[in-house]
């Protein structure tokens, strides 16, 4: 196998479509644990297809690993299909929330400026605290965190990655139709 497959490490976004069954998250993550592959981010939600769930997992690894990983994941009975995508094949976002003291916001204009500059928005404001929300890439939400830090960030949280392909349809839709058709023909 070419050396590149092993030596070039990069970020991959895995999209895994599955049935909604108990323990499947464990079955999926075990495959990463078994290969000592760290999960950078993970999100699960129902996909555009009813009853089909979509796992979005971000890993940093080489191509040989990610290709094999996808096949190992598809081997799981309840996994319908799995794909790996590189940065240029997807649009992705993460959401971050920051809690700061409302006093800090009122004492200076600077925070307001930062919020405007970063296209963030205020979700809630009480006498004690203010919650700011920002959607974007990890680097952007991180940058905002760094900017707010000097004013005291009481709490901070960031979601896993949500990603959508640049393809017109869900990767899975035609596949499911094909499966159903093949099954009908077989029966």
């Amino acid at each position: 196998m070419t050396n590149e497959q092993f030596t070039v490490y990069q970020e991959y976004t895995l999209t895994i479509f599955s049935e909604n069954s108990i323990g499947l998250l464990n079955r999926i993550t075990i495959n990463f644990t078994k290969r000592k592959l760290n999960i950078e981010s993970l999100t699960v939600s129902e996909s555009a297809i009813k009853g089909v769930f979509k796992f979005t997992i971000v890993v940093v690894c080489n191509r040989h690993t990610v290709e094999n990983m996808v096949k190992q994941l598809e081997k799981q009975i309840d996994v319908i299909r799995a794909f790996y995508l590189t940065q240029d094949e997807i649009l992705h976002q993460e959401i971050a929330m920051y809690k700061i003291e409302t006093n800090a916001l009122l004492e200076t204009n600077e925070i307001e400026g930062i919020i405007r500059m970063y296209n963030a928005r205020i979700l809630e404001m009480t006498k004690e605290y203010t919650v700011i929300e920002k959607t974007g890439h990890k680097a952007e939400t991180q940058e905002l965190f760094e900017k707010l830090r000097p004013y005291g960030v009481l709490q901070f949280t960031r979601s896993g990655r949500v990603a959508i392909t640049r393809l017109k349809q869900e990767l899975l839709s035609s596949y499911l139709e094909k499966l159903e058709k093949e099954h009908r023909e077989a029966v």
Binding site: M1, S18, E19, I22, G23, N26, R27, I30, K34, E67, N68, K71, Q72, E74, K75, I77, D78, V79, I80, L176, L179, E180, E182, H183, V187
Partner: protein
């Protein structure tokens, strides 16, 4: 499959479980009762005429027996265990079955559903523990889930690439009543056991085979699992291609076939290992390029094009990057490709194998089978067994030197006549697996060969064998060492024999304590007659053969060496 009861009947969960097994045509269950699975065992009492339960002496014995049963018969093995320690004792066998693609269904009892998560007595998260090592597993907490869960379990275990499944049933689900009707499972949307075969893959394969001057086929267990022995034979005879076998692929083709070039792997035959790096087309058929077969991957068949016939997509390009593949059951893909081939023969090419074989005969095989000196060698025992049974026996082994000797020297004639722990290398596998094999093939002679180490690991199953009067012929090759580890210590750890000398009980006395006939052989002159006595005995027999203490298995490809870097054991010591 028997379509039971279109009309629903009112039964308990336990009864639903047993009726499901009957619907799946199960006749034999290996198991061990305990608290959480008691309702099932209670109901089993009423099913004695329809389901035979074999009480083993340890749950590990039950699962290995289920494996042996499945491997010999091609049917799905079934075992029962209770919650907690009962369930955890199954794990080794489950992993073994996972590595070697053996279809088994394990049913475990679980504490009542109201107790789950409370660290109740004998509660263990067996679904969690077995998740990485089962093809599928499921916890049942309501009786009404049982038929569907069992139907799925049997479908998944046996279809596609087979494997172990586990169904964990809570005690309250066993006791609840439900309306029972059984519908076998034939389809799961997210699971494609048999991929559609692609014509372009078949064409590409046929083209590559047509162009090859020195093609070489590597045959794995996929051929046996797919029931494709005849299809393999037809493929080989039309193509004229020489073939070698992985450890688990043995018995897919009789050893005396002129295109049978021997076994691959660390202790395989020299010719197939060396020729892997000489051929121009390497064809893997139902095998997975295990590291014991490939040796150093970066030096593996780099000169050759590689073509892979494989059902499991995840095995394609996993270890060895292939030039082309045919994804599908070899039972269908082989004949499809065979039809596209022209009849050929490769006499000159096969002769190149034979030259290396001759060298190995002289340097390794003959001295092993006909040793000088008074002590009996392991290979010699295999030779005498061959002379007595002429391939008409099922051979079951444990793991270690004797296993390699058996795989190298037993003359395989019939498919499914070889049961051994390959991928996991489970010492202690032999005796319980042989027991299961005898249940799975009651009319065949089942011979177990084990070392003195492995035999002592699960010898409690002598109790099961004695109670059931199973005519298993047990041979312990006793060299007073954990031989394979000792061999590595000799070769790679400066002869520092750390914890490898091992003592044994008096085996004939041990056997007689169980009411089993037995004897010990030390002298060559007694060996043939002792094996004859063993085979003639109507019932179990334990034959201990004292063999050369420091016998080694050669040839050998040391770990990390390339496949053509074969050691014969007669090289001048480099030490």
């Amino acid at each position: 499959m028997e379509k039971l009861n279109q009309q629903k009947i009112r039964v308990t969960g336990s009864e639903a479980l047993l009726l499901s097994l009957i619907a799946e045509e199960v006749t034999t269950i290996f198991g061990y009762p305990g608290g959480a699975i008691m309702p099932v065992y209670d109901k089993l009492y009423d099913f004695k005429d329809r389901l035979k339960h074999i009480l083993t002496r340890h749950e590990q014995g039950a699962v290995h027996a289920a494996q042996g049963y499945a491997r010999v018969s091609g049917r799905t093995g079934v075992c029962f265990a209770t919650s907690g320690p009962g369930a955890t004792n199954l794990i080794t066998g489950i992993v073994d079955a996972y590595m070697d693609s053996t279809p088994i269904v394990c049913v475990t009892g679980q504490v009542g559903s109201h107790l789950i998560g409370s660290d109740a007595f004998q509660e263990t998260d067996v679904v969690g523990i077995s998740m990485p090592v089962t093809k599928w597993n499921y916890q049942v907490t309501k009786a009404e889930e049982i038929p569907e869960a069992m139907a799925k379990a049997f479908y998944i275990a046996k279809s596609g690439r087979p494997g172990p499944v586990l169904v964990d049933i809570t005690k309250d689900a066993m006791l609840q009543e439900m309306d029972f009707a059984y519908e076998p499972c034939t389809y799961i949307r997210s699971y494609v056991p048999m991929p559609h075969i692609k014509e372009e893959q078949l064409n590409r394969a046929a083209e590559m085979i047509y162009e090859a001057k020195k093609p070489f086929a590597l045959i794995g267990q996929g051929v046996i699992l797919g029931g494709a022995e005849n299809e393999l034979l037809a493929f080989l005879e039309k193509s004229g291609i020489p073939a070698a076998f992985t450890l688990l692929g043995l018995s897919a083709l009789p050893n005396d076939h002129p295109q049978h070039m021997g076994m691959l792997g660390m202790h395989g035959h020299a010719a197939p290992n060396i020729m892997t790096n000489e051929c121009d087309l390497l064809i893997g058929i139902g095998m997975r390029f295990d590291d014991r077969v490939t040796g150093k991957v970066s030096k593996y068949a780099t000169q050759a094009k590689i073509l892979h016939f494989e059902l499991e997509k995840a095995e394609i390009n996993k270890i060895i990057k292939v030039d082309a593949y045919v994804n599908g059951n070899v039972k269908e893909t082989l004949p499809a490709v065979t039809a596209k081939l022209v009849k050929k023969s490769f006499e000159g090419w096969i002769n190149e194998f034979k030259i290396i074989r001759k060298d190995e005969e002289k340097r390794v095989i003959h001295p092993e089978l006909y040793p000088e000196g008074n002590k009996i060698s392991m290979g010699e025992v295999m030779r005498v067994i061959n002379e007595a049974v002429k391939g008409e026996a099922v051979l079951v082994t444990d793991v270690g030197q004797h296993q390699m000797m058996a795989s190298r020297y037993f003359n395989f004639k019939n498919t499914r006549s070889w049961i051994t722990s390959g991928g996991l290398g489970t010492i202690g596998f032999g005796l319980p697996a042989a027991m299961g094999a005898q249940f799975g093939a009651p009319d065949k002679t089942v011979i177990m060969v084990a070392g003195d180490g492995g035999f002592q690991m699960t010898l409690q199953e002598l109790g099961t064998i004695a109670y059931n009067r199973l005519p298993v012929k047990m041979i312990v090759l006793n060299n007073n060492f954990l031989g394979m580890v000792r061999q590595w210590q000799e070769l790679f750890f400066e002869e520092r024999y750390s914890s490898t000398p091992i003592s044994s009980p008096n085996y004939p006395i041990l056997a007689s304590a169980y009411g089993i006939a037995g004897e010990t052989v030390k002298d060559r002159t007694d060996l043939k007659a002792a094996i004859a006595r063993m085979l003639e005995t109507d019932g179990p027999y334990l034959l201990e053969v004292k063999v050369i203490n420091k016998g080694n298995v050669f040839p050998m490809i040391p770990q990390g060496a390339a496949v053509n870097e074969v050691l014969y054991g007669d090289e001048k010591s480099s030490k």
